[in-house]
Structure formats: C-alpha cells, structure tokens
C-alpha cells in the first residue's frame, strides 16, 4: 500500500463565466521512504495538487473528481476535525510562498513552539530546545538568538527555512514540499536536501517535492512526475524520465535547463507548444514600445556607485542608546555598476543581498555610506520631480512577488499604473495594448489582466511583478531573485527578454540570484556576499573558472549535480 495515493484527481476553480480546471485526472503514488518530484510548467497545477492533498485549496477551488488516500485511508472527504489531526502531524506541508506563510505578529519561537506542542507531548522548554535544534538543522545561524525575532526580521531564505522547520517539527510521515529551496543558496540548499534525504531514509518518510530545479530533482528524487497544463504528461523513475524523456514537453524542459559550466549567449527556448494553446508572441524590441529610446542623459562613468554602504537594524530597542542592540545586515559594501552591465549578487541566504537592493532603491535609509546614481547622490534628492525622474529610471523586482502586488487591483491595472503615471503612452488604448503585450510576453496570456493576483500560481505572480517592473521602461533594474519560481522555459524566455533589452538599450541590472547557472549566463561581473560583506567581486567567467575566496569555491562545488542532465544535453 502506498503512503500517498492520488488517483484521477481533478481540481477546478469555478468562476462565474467558466470553470477553470487546474488539475485534470492526475494519478500519483508515493511509497514510504521515497521522494517523488513534481516538475512542470509554471501554472501547471503542481501547487494545487499539494494543496488538495492537505485539504487547503484556496476558495473557490474544489476537488471535482478523484480520490486521495493516505496510507489507504481516504482523506479528501474528511471533516474538519479529522483532517486537522492529519495536518502537521502526519502530513507536513511547506507552502510555495514562504514569505507570507508566517504570521507577522508572532515570533518565530512562538510559532515553532506552538506547533511542536500541538503535536508532541512536550513542555514549553523542551519544545523550545527542539525548536532551536530544528532551526540549527535548517542552517539558521545563531538560532538561539534569532528564534525570538519576528518573521519580518528574517531574510527571504531564512523564512523559507523556518517554514521547513515548521513542517518537519512534528515528524510527519509525509512531507509535501512546494519549491522548498528557491530562496536558498546552494550550500544551504545542499544542507536542506541532505536533511530531507536523511529523513526519508532514517524515518521512512515519504516526500512529495515540487520544484523547478532540475538539479534538485536529479539529486534527491526517486520518481518524477511532469505536469503540463493541469495534466500529468510523464511519470516514472527519475533516471528514466530525465535520461530518456518520452513526452515532447519533458524533452524541451530538460533541454532548457541553464548551464553553469559554459557561457552561452541566449537561453535555449522551449519549443514545445501544445496544439490548442496560443503561442506566446515574442517581442521585437526594435519596434516595440519597450524598445523606444530612453530620454536619459548618458552617464559618464559608472551608472551606479555604491560606497561603504552599511545597514544596521535595531533588533532590541531601549530608552538608553547603549542598551540598544543592532544587527549589522550590511557592512561597508562598495561596488560600481557600469552602464549596460549586469552585476550579479550571489551569496549566502541572509547575507544582506535584498537589503542592498532596498537601500539602492531608497526603501531603506542607509546607516552609512552613499549611493550615487548617474552621478547624483540619491539621498540628496529633494525636489519631487527629481525623485520621480530617478524612480522611473530605477526599478525593482521584489523577491516576494505576492506581497508586492496589491491584492485589490486587477493585474492589468497593476501593470498599467506606472505607464499611466509616468505618461509613457499617449492614449488609453495604447496603454491597454502595451499591458497586453507585456502580460503576454511573460507568458500569462490573454485574459490574465482581468484577474486578481491571488488567482495566480507562484510563478505567475512573479511574472506579473516582472511585467510591472518593465512597464516603466527602466534604465536600471534591480532583480531580486526574479525567476526563482519559474520553470526553466518561462525563465529562459524572460531572461532572454532582459538580455535583449540590455543589448538594444543598454539596460543596466543588479541581479540577485541563488541560481549559479543563471547568474553565470546573465552577469558580466559578480559579487559574492557573505555575512553582510562583499567577499569577492570578479568577472563572471573568471569567478566560475578561478574562484578566489574560499566561500566562493565552496558555493561552486556545491551546485547540485548535473551529471544526469549533462549527459542528455
């Protein structure tokens, strides 16, 4: 008997005009001690499957057909009480969006302890000890100190790890991990993957891992399921599926996996398109609105100069300045970015990358140091028109796409807003046209504009936020893990677009990512961060070929194994 048995599952989201079938007739089985990977197109219904198993489909979604069995017992029709007993205790769930999964008003400690104590008979202090151990095992530094902090004081990757710890803390039999490592650097990722593998082996835990990262699949999965548009298109042993894919989609997916070993000019496009689907039109930059010349003065010298930038967060306040405690998230970091260049930031999760991005875009005020953009110091700007002009030139794609979208606005309005506000288009019809193009190009298709952000999958949300950032026709783009939730095909398409923009218009980018392959292909120069410091800056080829700093070396060696893939490619 399988641990998890999904048969013929169909999930639909009934709408007023039509019913959207997110998952159609999917059957999967998972044995104890095994890892089942689910890959597939962004928006294919992977998360939906996971949510259906644990009975937390977002309204108005419902299981229209099929059965879900845990250890032979049917769980898709349980009442509230019975399913609650299963959640957490027997099935541990890691949601895709770790940044919004934590209650903002409770400390990490409170959330961990309450979960542990709900399921395990432990005293508060025992639970606390266990919580700290768990945090340590998922690689949070100084867990005893940091456990008392609130989620917003954690970096994206750290929050993801907290979520993992929360899912594992009651020692469930089945773990559903929806993109558990997107925000993690390779070393932490390796640690987490080891932890998961160990769980499977030692405690016979079954694991359903949803991911876009072929490396992860190759490394830990026993079986792989490939989903495309709600359907299961291929299902089999990992070696078999990755080594000898049968379905055309699987093939194109594997071929699109970016490589870290060589530098290539463009990412390979996925050419698989199902007959019925409308093809995504590619944008011809030279004629499109996006490609219209920018009206900025050419910068002499570096476009962005970061000097001795530092950021201290107050983590304990007190009347007396001497008693206040600060956390130094960024310590005197300096670097330049030349016009038309892409500067990559990689590094340990929690090392201050997002903080730097926020400092540059003016969301935080630095505790020290300066940021010059096109020769002007940003903090010195006073008049509103100057600030506006600067803002339009500089855009940011947030690490957490969902919370950066206003849930009450339709997607088309979200994307149209900067165009309208900066008066970048002459008429409303043009605005609508541009918005459609942008949405189409990031692969959301027609009709997406009418929906609200919560109606999208994780990857789709990320694409909305990319479309919005492009809508200002920026000169400088800060990308904080822009493609972490995207499947390789969409990722390729978007990264290619960015590259095109760069070539045609000299778009300058600060590119933050954990995906070393992507970084290598995208960036001209790369900075490696650790503990709030920039430990190495080098040209990308140089860095990959001859890393200097010990940490950089460690990172590169820890890249998930690509042997399997490399063979096919």
């Amino acid at each position: 008997m399988s641990l998890l048995d999904i048969s013929n599952l169909t999930v639909e989201f009934p709408g007023r005009k039509s019913t959207f079938v997110a998952v159609e007739g999917v059957s999967l089985a998972l044995e104890p001690g095994k890892v089942l990977g689910v890959v597939g197109e962004s928006g294919a219904g992977k998360s939906t499957v996971g949510n259906a198993v644990i009975g937390l489909l977002q309204e108005p979604g419902r299981i229209a057909n099929g059965e879900i069995r845990l250890d032979g017992e049917r769980i898709d029709q349980l009442d509230k009480k019975a399913i609650r007993k299963i959640r957490g205790r027997r099935i541990g769930m890691i949601f895709q969006d770790p940044l919004t999964s934590l209650d903002p008003l409770q400390t990490v400690e409170a959330q961990l302890v309450e979960t542990i104590r709900t399921h395990l008979p432990m005293s508060h202090s025992e639970a606390l000890t266990r919580a700290i151990e768990l945090l340590d095992s998922v690689g949070i530094p100084d867990p005893a100190d940091r456990i008392g902090q609130y989620p917003h004081q954690f970096s994206g990757g750290m929050r993801q790890r907290v979520v993992i710890a929360l899912a594992l803390c009651a020692e469930p039999e089945l773990v559903i991990a929806d993109e558990p490592t997107t925000a993690l650097d390779v070393s932490i990722q390796a640690q987490i993957l080891d932890l998961m593998k160990a769980l499977c082996v030692e405690r016979n835990v079954g694991m359903l891992v949803i991911t876009h990262d072929m490396g992860v699949i190759a490394e830990i999965c026993d079986h792989v399921a490939v989903m495309y548009r709600g359907n299961l298109v291929e299902y089999g042993e990992t070696a078999q599926v990755l080594g000898a894919p049968e379905h055309a989609y699987t093939k194109s997916l594997i071929s699109a996996v970016p490589r870290a070993d060589v530098t290539i000019d463009r990412f390979p496009n996925v050419n698989y398109i199902e007959a019925a689907a409308t093809p995504t039109r590619s944008i011809d930059i030279s004629t499109h609105w996006l490609g219209k010349a920018r009206d900025y003065e050419a910068a002499t010298g570096p476009l962005l100069q970061v000097q001795d930038l530092s950021m201290d967060f107050e983590v304990k306040s007190s009347i007396f300045p001497s008693r206040r405690k600060y956390f130094k998230a960024v310590k005197t970091v300096s670097f330049d970015i030349q016009p038309g260049e892409t500067f990559g930031l990689v590094g340990e999760s929690g090392s201050g990358k997002s903080t730097i991005a926020r400092l540059i875009t003016g969301l935080y005020h630095p505790s020290g140091g300066t940021v010059h953009f096109a020769g002007t110091e940003l903090t010195s700007l006073s008049s509103r028109s100057q600030v506006l002009a600067m803002r339009r030139q500089m855009q940011m794609i947030f690490q957490d796409p969902y919370s950066s979208l206003n849930g009450r606005m339709r997607v088309k309005d979200i994307v149209a807003e900067p165009i309208k506000f900066h008066k970048l288009a002459s008429s409303n019809t043009e605005v609508r046209q541009i918005v459609d193009d942008l949405l189409d190009h990031v692969g959301l298709g027609i009709g997406a504009g009418e929906k609200f952000p919560h109606e999208f999958s994780g990857g789709q949300r990320q694409r909305i936020s990319i479309a919005r950032a492009l809508a200002t026709r920026p000169r400088f783009l800060v990308c904080d893990e822009p493609t972490s939730a995207l499947d390789v095909s969409i990722q390729a398409q978007i990264l290619n677009l960015l590259k095109d923009l760069q070539q045609e218009l000299g778009l300058t980018m600060l590119f933050i990512s954990h995906d070393l392959a992507v970084i290598r292909q995208m960036c001209n120069r790369i900075g490696v961060m650790r503990h709030g410091e920039l430990c190495e800056v080098a040209d990308s080829d140089a860095l990959y070929e001859a890393p200097q700093h010990a940490y950089t070396k460690e990172l590169l060696t820890l890249m998930p194994s690509m042997d399997l893939l490399a063979k096919i490619a």
Binding site: I54, L56, Q58, E59, K80, R84, K85, I86, R87, G88, R89, M93, F95, D97, T100, S101, L102, D103, P104, L105, Q106, T107, E114, T115, T118, H119, Y150, H152, Q153, V163, L166, A167, A170, M311, F313, E314, V315, K316, S317, I319, F327, Y364, H365, P366, S367, Y402
Partner: protein, 323 residues
Amino acid sequence: MFGFAIRRLFQALIVMFVVALLAFTMFRFVGDPVNQMVGVETSIAEREALRQRLGLNDPMPVQFARFVAGAVKFDFGTSYQFRQPVADLFAKRLPATLELSFMSALFALLTGIPMGVYAGLNRESWLSKIFLSVSLIGVSLPTFFIGILLIFLFSVTLQWLPSFGRGEVVDLGWWSTGLLTVSGWKAIILPAVTLGLYQMTLIMRLIRAEMLEVIRTDYIKFARARGLPDRIVNLRHALKNTLVPVITITGLQLGAIIAFATITETVFQWPGMGLMFLQAVQNVDIPIMSAYLLMTAFIFVTVNFIVDILYYVIDPRLRIGRP
C-alpha cells in the same frame, strides 16, 4: 518609548490648552448661567451684580487667563449650581462613571469579540446572521429608548433589577464602589448593557469584517496546515491580526463611554460624571463644563496614547529597527 511618552505629555498639555480655549468661546452659546442660579423673581440689578461677581462681565481673555491660572493648580473654581469646588465634585462622581464604563466595556468586549470571531469564521451560518441582525437593534434604536425598554421589562414588569441609582455603595475612603454589594451589582447590569450595546455591535462587526480577510491569508492557511487547533489558529493568529482597527475603535469608544455616558446615566439616574455634565450643560455651569472638558481631553489623550502603544505591542513591524 520614554521620549515618545514625554513628547505625548507635552502634546497633551497643548491639547488641553486648546480645549480650554475652545470651551471658553463655546460657553457663550450654551446659555446664560445667571438665570439658572437665581429664582425667577430676582431683580435685574441683582442678576447683574451676580454676573459681575462671577467675573462673567470680564473680557473673554481675562476669564480664560483666570481659568488657566487656576487649572494649573488643579483649582477649577466652584460649581455654580452646587456651590462646591469642582474638583471635589469630580472626585465624588468619578468612581461611579469609571465602574460603569469598565463594566460596559467588559460587556461589549466579552460579547462582541466572540460573536465577531464566530460570525467571521462562519460567514454563512444562521447563527452569525442572527448575531449580525439582532445586534443592529442595539445601534438603530436610541440609547434612551433602549434604556427605557429595559427598565420597563426588568424593573417594572419582572421587578428583577432596579431602575435607577447605584444600589448600596461601599465607601473605601478615596473610592466608593458599588461592586461589593449585591444591590450594586444588580444596579449596574442594565446601564452597563445599555451603554455597551453600541460598542458591542461595533466591535463585533469590525472583528467579523477583519476576520473574513485575515482567515484567507497564507499564514492562516499555513497555520491550519501545521495542524494547529482551531482555537489557536482563530484566536492567536487570526484574531490578533484583526486587532489594530478594533483597538482603535475600542479605545475611542471607551473614551466616549467614560466621557459621554450622559444619556445612559440620565436614564438610569446613575450618579456619575455624565449625568453631572448634562446637568451642567442644562444649567450652564461653566466651571463644571470647562473642568469636565479638560478632563475629557485628558482621558482621550491618554486612551489614544495607550492605543498607540498597543499598536506597537501588537504589531512588531511598527516597532523597532524602522530605518
């Protein structure tokens, strides 16, 4: 925090000063105190003399300066009606009002919060629809009307509860409490319910509205996925995330209850500040009115200060390290 409090204290003084100033310009429109202080037959010359003696003929700035000079020494003058120092009167009336406000706030919170949580969680259930509609009676009928209906039912018809007053009061020296006697408890029920009905409805509806949103957030979903019991999910996570607007309103309402329980106190002849204030307005008892408004200002400044602090207590994102 400390600096924050000091700054607030300073602002409070300004607020009270402005309140006093406004109050003084306002009193001209409330009526003529002299007419209320003398019998009908008193001659015009006598009235004029009285007016002179009370300083009502002085220019407004002089009267105001005199008031402020006294107020800084906690001397608010003598009540026109009662011929007693206002400060003494306040000291006597305050316990009644505070006890009533406390009990009605307690009533509003203890009934409003659970009903609101329930209605937010069970949007479609009949019980929550009943909560929602029935509680509206509390707001759609005037307080005096509700008070009188309650009196009619519980005092006249059933004769369970007294219709007026505080019952037996135990004097603890600086505080006289009705909460130590059975008759005191009986007496406080009707006024507290009457007074709390509006706040209860408001709190319940606010919580429901906020709950509806919060329970759809990812962190609640994740809390469920972790298998936390409903009690913890609903109260510790969901409810807490609805609290910012709720405490704002609760704070305002509490201030309003303390300061302006006038109608309820009048209906139930509750010997508190509100009753006294209404009488003071009716009789143009300027010293009481001005001191009262000052006190009200102080109450509101304090309550709002506490509410602001509570924001920080509830929401860590507002708290520290905001660069």
